[in-house]
């Protein structure tokens, strides 16, 4: 019994050390809207996808990231200011798409319908996450600033949660990243929104600065993002391209 317990204890300690990350893989922390894209441009690396705010929070708390790909300048710049990553560069653009479930149960044809009192069930990004901030900018430009008070609005911190809530009909409409709409085209119907109302959505990349970070490989991943083949891959993933630098 004693020997068995000690053996078990030793085994668990051994197992724990086996779970520690290996020192040689480059770890890419990327916004969840890049989930399909990143493995095509940086194959063979370790990835972690989540909301940019969550990723930035994890990196600030010492997560073993080498590259940070943020869906909004805010988070990359925040890390840079704290000395936690190199100067961020814009590598991709995105837009918002106003979508309903494919069957469009509420019969929404124009975004201006959101201005009517009576209330649709809308799914919208949280007030303080990039998607929510962009959505509010777009509504503001359309003069629909009060649309979020006139409807029943459910807030989501993660873009992917929002997409499934609309696809499954919990919400009758909502604003998603265009890339997320492309990934769920069979379940989401796009409703046109004037181009002039689109917010400027810039994705930024930076190499994480921390003891033990693989800065060389991180810089190589970022260089590939900006290269010709990188731009081709971005376009294939329905992301917009920033002007060449």
């Amino acid at each position: 019994m004693i020997r068995a317990s000690l053996a078990l204890l030793a085994t668990s300690i051994a197992l724990c050390s086996a779970l520690a990350p290996s020192a040689y893989a480059t770890t890419v922390y990327a916004a969840s809207s890049l989930t399909k894209f990143v493995p095509t441009i940086a194959p063979g690396n370790t990835y972690s996808f989540s909301g940019s705010d969550t990723l930035a929070f994890q990196i600030e708390n010492g997560a073993p990231a080498d590259v940070f790909l943020s869906a909004a300048p805010l988070y990359a710049e925040r890390l840079h200011k704290k000395g936690l990553c190199t100067t961020p560069v814009v590598f991709a653009l995105n837009t918002l798409t106003f979508v309903t479930p494919i069957s469009n149960p509420a019969g929404i044809t124009r975004v201006q319908q959101l201005d009517r009192p009576g209330g649709y069930r809308l799914a919208v990004g949280g007030k303080h996450v990039p998607l929510g901030i962009y959505t509010r900018t777009l509504l503001g430009k359309l003069g629909l600033g009060r649309a979020l008070q006139k409807n029943t609005v459910s807030s989501y911190q993660k873009a992917s949660d929002l997409t499934s809530v609309i696809a499954l009909g919990s919400a009758v409409a909502g604003f998603v990243y265009t890339t997320d709409w492309h990934a769920n085209r069979s379940r989401l119907l796009p409703i046109p929104v004037p181009k002039s109302a689109q917010p400027l959505i810039r994705y930024m990349a930076c190499a994480v600065i921390r003891p033990g970070a693989d800065t060389t490989s991180a810089r190589a991943v970022i260089a590939r993002l900006l290269s010709l083949s990188g731009r081709q891959a971005l376009a294939n993933a329905h992301l917009g391209l920033p002007p060449k630098t």
Binding site: I2, F57, P101, S155, Y156, V165, L168, G169, S170, A171
Partner: protein, 272 residues
């Protein structure tokens, strides 16, 4: 005590210390994040108070539901003899192993606007998503199995001779259930209820996807923690501490002997 016994006890103590440290260090770290005197102010924010109200109200209804329906159901599961009982027991436990987000998707595909039952409900004008009813369903769905499991185990452990004795004395089945089985299984039921309550009030994933996160309507405390993380870290921690206090309080109360029980519990046998 000989050396071997002492060594064995040492190993046990070491295991317990490791277990406690592992489980309690994160909670202690959370409590140390925010100065205690800032807590009241952080918890008075409207976002927090409205989330607290939503959580308490929906949890109360969900708990009444699974206690009222789950208790007799568990009694039948424990004492009934019918085919397929092991399979049924497993099915009841299935929601326990569903990842919360999957539970949310499952509820949506059942009761959502396009769901299995949702489209029929919609014909009667019942729309569940983004309502408090949906929160109650989500909480009940994830919490009830915890109670059912404990209640079935509690009823199964009853001494059947005692139940038969009551029957021989002329007690009806309903009286046996109410006067004999319920009081005897009370400890198990209370412990199961406490676990289910704690799981229910901490429910996150299924609520977010099925009931949505509509401020002061379906935004419960756990959803508020998640939303607050992006705004104010201290406020998120304060809400987490509130959640811990509520769940911890209920778990503790359930473990204390009830005030009305006058029968002394028998002392543990053969302890060290």
């Amino acid at each position: 005590m000989n050396t071997r016994t002492r060594l064995f006890r040492g190993v046990l103590t070491l295991a317990l210390v490791i277990t406690l440290l592992f489980l309690l260090i994160p909670i202690a770290a959370l409590l140390l994040q925010v100065p205690v005197r800032e807590l009241p102010a952080l918890l008075r924010e409207t976002a927090v108070t409205s989330a607290l109200l939503v959580s308490l109200k929906t949890s109360l209804i969900a708990n009444v539901l699974f206690l009222a329906i789950g208790t007799p159901a568990a009694y039948l599961m424990a004492l009934g003899r019918f085919r397929g009982r092991p399979l049924l027991l497993t099915l009841i436990e299935l929601p326990l192993v569903l990842p919360p987000a999957v539970a949310g998707i499952a509820l949506l595909t059942a009761f959502g606007a396009f769901g299995l039952l949702g489209s029929t409900l919609a014909q009667f004008g019942v729309v569940l998503p983004f309502t408090q009813a949906a929160v109650v369903i989500a909480v009940t769905f994830v919490a009830a199995p915890f109670y059912l499991r404990a209640a079935i185990a509690g009823f199964s452990a009853l001494d059947r001779n005692q139940l038969d004795a009551a029957r021989d004395l002329g007690a009806s089945e309903a009286v046996v259930f109410r006067r004999i089985a319920l009081p005897l299984a009370a400890d198990a039921l209370r412990a199961g209820w406490a676990m289910a309550f704690a799981r229910g009030i901490g429910e996150f994933g299924a609520t977010l996807l099925f009931a949505g996160s509509v401020a002061s309507l379906t935004e419960t405390l756990p959803l508020a923690v998640y939303a607050q993380l992006d705004v104010d870290f201290n406020s998120a921690v304060a809400v987490s501490i509130l959640l811990l206090a509520i769940s911890g309080g209920v778990l503790l109360v359930a473990k204390l002997p009830p005030l009305w029980s006058l029968t002394p519990t028998s002392p543990p046998v053969g302890g060290w």
